[in-house]
Symmetry: C2
Subunit: 82 residues, 2 copies
């Protein structure tokens, strides 16, 4: 068994409104910053024991599908490091 860290990045799908990001962008612009667009996303870094990298990846993807992401509005990707 090895120790792995799975990083699950959960983003809103294109076209889904993101009022938090819009508010953050306006606040930055009011402070004088110039930017084109701002997108926000959540990361979950999960430490887990698994027999190999493939198993760690599979379990983290399952966690994303079951709980961390809502497939109606979110896309996610998973990266695993040892």
């Amino acid at each position: 068994m090895g120790e792995y860290t799975a990083t699950v990045t959960v983003r809103l799908k294109g076209g889904v409104l993101d009022p938090e990001a819009a508010t953050t962008q306006r606040a930055l612009e009011r402070l004088g910053f110039e930017l084109e667009t701002l997108r926000s996303a959540n990361i979950y870094e999960i430490d887990l024991s698994a027999s190999d990298e493939d198993e760690a990846l599979e379990r983290a993807e399952e966690m994303a599908l079951r709980l961390l992401a809502n497939p109606t509005i979110h896309d996610f990707d998973v990266e695993v490091t040892e």
Copy 2:
């Protein structure tokens, strides 16, 4: 001027309680998943025009310091891609 994307990752400092992450971890465990620890973080992906990569990096770091991160409880890092 070039178009750059700055990715600002904002994490809670070590030792700062993260009740959202603790709740997420317990929910995963109740679903039958085995994991050691779970940390959460926020990402801001910012598209901006800048004369070079260094300027884009500097402006994104300034945004993090001024608004996106609270230096009392957060660490952040910034990566810039073209």
